[in-house]
Symmetry: C2
Subunit: 707 residues, 2 copies
């Protein structure tokens, strides 16, 4: 046992004990041990000097971001679309990395004295007594063997290296929350089945395909003698999991600008948002896969099952926590008059959303996943309770946080290609990885699309499939997952390779999106209102009925949500007194907000996105009426439903259309409700239709449900 | 030299080498060294456990803040004014502190093995080799002697203790920036002389008075034998400096709500904003006071001079940096069309403001001070270049950050009373401190007010003075300064005492503000428009001429600012082509924004605060016209000037008034300009007056200046 006095460089501990560290903080490792005994003043001076250097290095990043912003402006100003801001941030990061690496040479002031000392443990805190003075040291983590002697020459590069946990605990949460909060729910829910298939099944397929291919490559490399360290099958699977997380930013920014078909947008966005969550949980489950005994890299059914259990447990736990905090926030904002004070409201919203993350982490779940579902819940319920001022504030706040975090991560990525000290670039592995990533993505998209198209009448065309294949960029999440642990040889090789994959996909695939879209003749400039009309080549009514069939769990959920959850959690929707059975009268009255009664009259006043959302869903029901009941309403319905859908965009629309929509919605909603259980009491249905919309049309509905 | 394996508790290092740590991060010290040899898995599990605990403890704070927000809402809802949100946050913090301290007992798992080891230095990073595994330790700082053996029982309390640098590098900057950014410039500049006097001279007086009184007390305590450690005169002065920083939040929140006299508001707000900066720099200068040789606590002229030099250097350096980054931001926002993209603009604004802090810290200046002046500059120039959307966004962003940071600090203060491990409550010292703080404040306010009243015709009445005396609360800045260094006995005693002072002033003085105002018969419910009319009992015209006389350096500055800086840095003001001498024509044309020419026509369209600001200053000039030139314009002028002032509030006003003001301003501005140099060419003056306002009235001005 020896007490080694040396410097720790490069390889980071797999999980730093100091966590949730802010971007500012963790310019890794204190440094400046000038050696020799120091007195109090000297220690202080060193601390001060360190503080100044840290500030200076952080300033580099701020300047990088500033530069990026100005260049982005120039690009947007000149309508130059081939390079997205994230790609730009990476380029600037690269340049600064090159300068730091090759341009500036810091004087070496190393003193690698190794002192022997008898210690038989590694406590969290050490007190070192030097000539009667005590210095405190805290445990950073374990260092990979052999690292201790590896002396890097450039200290500065080490200083611009952040603790990888920064990415997970500071930078990713706002990005992921923003993704959830800005999800366009209407198109998302319309394609929910396909999105879930791509995100869950697809990511698992991709993970295993990449893992298997990489295992083949690695085995080959072992035979050829190209591999300098261990690389197990679990490592391959882990690699598969981390590179299966696709990043929405670049492609979707372009899609948004070009107004690409909304269904394609929804599929890609929904997939990339959800598969981030899947990839995180999947990778942590793979890490948790540890067969009993010493034989730690063989296959074992029990361990496999345990990993699967971990996956399910962590995912559902995070999901539940996210939803619960979202619901609590909705309840709090509903039952207090906090909306009179937008500042308080915004602060509460921010704190509650943040507490989701902390709560999940404290419970051992995954904060980032919880935050995603919290974001979706907040958007679905809480957003409706906020004052208009707070709605703007929260949106803008998270938009800003997202923007800063994203560009920070990407510029850091560029920088890290040169500043990271333990790169392992293995040409064979890199080639293998590119092939595997390509095939993994293909194995996700094409077979799943084929299967989905069997059930889906609104077929996902080949051009859509090619674009989805092409648009599978890897970004922030992949980077954060791969930099989290770079302690072993295998992980270092993975990290370096991942970095190259991110560069390639962001620059080549991201930059090629616009040409790709025109090459694939994807309709561009689509107003989201006319989306369905433009996806042509499909039989309208047939598609609609399919949608009905495939969406039945969603429909049950929609009814429940619309009749009970929304009235309970928000000011919108029908009053609970109308939807709950009569026996719950007093409770319903107490839980229904006064606004809900007014809503009945003027239907969801300040909640335009929701009107449209509802209208869209309702129009689906109306379509159903066409296909099954196919009576005289045939001629009336399509008009209504198309009107409803035509106004379905989130963009601007005038008051007149709004009112028309409300009426249309009510009518079709009633028809739809009738349709869900068409054989129950066909006599009662017509009376429901003739009821005037405002007072309490869905009154009889719960009764029917209970029939 | 021994290698002590033990736990570090309580006393914090004087300057942590890891800095700028986010609130999340630095739940101080890793802990959980369960002793004994650990394998890799165990280390990881410990790190994970630590992460979970940290999240849980941070969650406590988030919950505290949430609770505070809800209670604040209740208070505001019920118009309950005796307890401000900060006071409330402290109470909740106290309660949680009590629960943590006495309610929950964590099991003790201590292993205080002390291991001997020969080390002759304290490097920044230690690598400990335990059975072939390397563990990395980083230097936290030096520990006060004797601390090493002091074993505290409650580990949990230690876990909820943040690194004090968090306050300085994360929480204070947004608070201070917001103070600068939200400064009501009109009233501030009107009282600039008095504010500077209170902030600079007053704070220095207060610091020395408190220091001297405390030195008396401490000497007495030494004689009585009540003092257990060293307490030098520099310590007393340091104490004086930190408790001289008054906090605006509580009182000003009430003032704002009650619409108290704007001059009183401006005096208090201006003083408390600026004296924070003075107190920081003063305290660091006192720390820098180190006489040569070993005789480190005697008086020495050279060291004193050096300290004074440090004060001047740090203050002016920080000031310059803050202003420079503000100006750069203004230029960037002016010369790019960034305003088309509010998100980019807001991000740039945020990053530039943050970079001020980092730049100042990197240069060895004080970031917090730089940020204050940056905030003022941004408000004065950049704000006018921002798009209306960005103006809202930036205001709301910093409002939110300020709110969160402030309440976090105050709830932490409450908590720390019980959770801090090294409190030294010395009754004599506490009594002495309260007396000293009271007398120090009195020595600041009353003599200075007397002196200022000699020069000021708009006398600061006794009731105003009493309120200013009473409203000298101590808050976030005092706390942050005192917790920054709690290594020595003297500093611990100061910290504990400071905490009590903050509690007392926030609860008693803060809560007593409303009764105090009515007792002192301070006019409440004053519309800021009619401020001057209501401060009655003063001779109007006499006051005006005094204002003219006392404000001459400000007037020169105003002319320079209005004619050159504002046109150069913003879209408002007269075009530079009109104000610069003809020889600079091409340069002026290139620097003047197209909007400036339009401004000439419709004068400062989207910049209402500025119109009013200008109008107010101009009306001052108009008054001057009355007192010196006192000709026929006597009857015309007061009307104009009173109109201008009547519209001077920042509140709402209609377009008509706006236009009237513009005209009034133009007229009086011209008269004012004439007045500055009344004997130059009295013949030309009337022709200037008769010029129609829009095209280019100040054209001839530079010529006159050069006469």
């Amino acid at each position: 046992m020896g007490f080694t006095r040396s410097r720790f460089l490069g390889g980071k501990p797999s999980k730093a004990p100091l966590l949730l560290p802010f971007l500012l903080t963790v310019l890794l490792v204190g440094s400046q041990g000038d050696g020799g005994a120091m007195d109090n003043g000297a220690t202080e001076r060193i601390a001060e000097e360190s503080h100044r250097q840290d500030s200076a290095y952080l300033l580099i990043f701020i300047m990088l971001l500033t530069l990026t912003i100005l260049t982005i402006w120039l690009f947007k100003h000149r309508r130059f679309r081939f390079l997205h801001e994230t790609g730009l941030a990476m380029i600037y990061g690269l340049l600064v990395g090159v300068i730091l690496r090759f341009g500036i040479h810091a004087p070496q002031s190393m003193s690698d004295v190794i002192l022997g000392c008898a210690v038989n443990g590694s406590p969290a805190t050490l007190l070192v007594n030097v000539s009667g003075r005590f210095y405190e040291y805290t445990l950073k983590g374990e260092v990979g063997q052999g690292k201790g002697h590896q002396v890097q020459d450039d200290e500065m590069l080490r200083k611009v290296t952040f603790d990888p946990e920064v990415f997970f605990n500071i930078l990713l949460p706002p990005i992921i929350f923003h993704a959830g909060y800005s999800l366009k729910r209407r198109h998302f829910f319309r394609n929910i089945g396909s999105i879930l298939a791509y995100a869950f099944i697809g990511t698992v397929i991709s993970c295993f395909v990449i893992g298997l291919i990489m295992y083949g490559f690695v085995s080959f490399m072992k035979v050829v003698g190209q591999l300098d360290g261990d690389f197990y099958f679990t490592d391959c699977l882990f690699f598969g999991a981390i590179v299966s997380a696709t990043d929405p930013v670049t492609v979707l920014a372009i899609f948004n600008e070009l107004k690409v078909d909304v269904d394609l947008y929804a599929l890609l966005f929904g997939e990339s948002v959800l598969n981030d969550a899947v990839a995180i949980v999947l990778s942590s489950s793979i890490v948790a896969y540890q067969p009993a005994g010493d034989n730690s890299h063989s296959f074992e059914a029990m361990a496999m099952l345990k990993s699967f259990g971990v996956f399910l447990g962590v995912f559902s736990g995070s999901f539940a926590l996210g939803v619960v905090t979202g619901v609590v926030t909705a309840l709090v904002t509903k039952f207090t008059k906090l909306r009179d004070f937008p500042l308080l409201e915004t602060a509460l919203f921010f704190l509650m959303s943040w507490s989701t993350f902390l709560l999940a982490e404290a419970c051992g779940f995954t904060g980032v996943v919880a935050v995603l579902f919290c974001g979706i819940t907040q958007a679905h319920y809480t957003y409706n309770n906020l004052s208009p001022d707070s709605q703007d504030r929260t949106k803008q706040l998270f938009e800003l946080l997202n923007f800063l975090a994203e560009n920070f991560i990407f510029s850091y990525m560029g920088l890290t290609l040169f500043s990271f000290q333990s790169h392992v670039f293995n040409p064979l592995f890199i080639v293998g990885a590119f092939v595997a990533v390509f095939l993994g993505r293909a194995a996700n998209i094409y077979p799943l699309s084929f299967l989905l198209n069997l059930g889906r009448k609104n077929k996902i065309g080949y051009n859509f499939q090619h674009v989805m294949m092409f648009a599978g960029l890897r970004g922030a999440m992949t980077f954060a997952l791969s930099i989290r642990d770079t302690a072993t040889y295998a992980r270092q090789m993975m990290f370096s390779t991942t970095l190259l994959i991110v560069f390639f996909t962001v620059w080549i695939c991201g930059g090629g999106t616009t040409p790709m879209l025109s090459f694939m003749s994807i309709p561009v400039g689509v107003d989201s209102d006319q989306d369905n009309a433009n996806s042509g080549a499909l039989d309208g009514s047939q598609r609609r009925s399919t949608k009905h069939e495939s969406a039945w769990p969603f429909r049950i959920w929609y009814n429940f949500d619309h009749n009970y959850l929304k009235p309970l959690l928000t000011h919108s929707g029908p009053p609970l007194t109308a939807t709950l059975p009569a026996c719950c009268g007093p409770l319903a009255r107490c839980l229904t907000s006064p606004q809900a009664y007014e809503n009945e009259g003027q239907l969801h006043d300040d909640d335009s996105d929701f009107i449209l959302n509802d209208a869209s869903v309702s129009s689906m029901y109306a379509d159903v009426t066409v296909s099954t009941d196919a009576s005289g309403s045939r001629t009336v319905n399509p008009k209504h439903s198309s009107t409803a859908r035509a106004g379905g965009g989130v963009g601007s629309f005038d008051e007149g259309l709004d009112h028309e929509l409300s009426v249309a919605e009510h009518e079709v909603a009633i028809r739809g409700t009738r349709l869900v259980l068409p054989m129950d009491d066909p006599v009662e249905a017509p009376t429901t239709v003739t009821l005037p919309p405002p007072p309490s049309p869905p009154r009889s509905e719960p009764h029917r449900h209970r029939l």
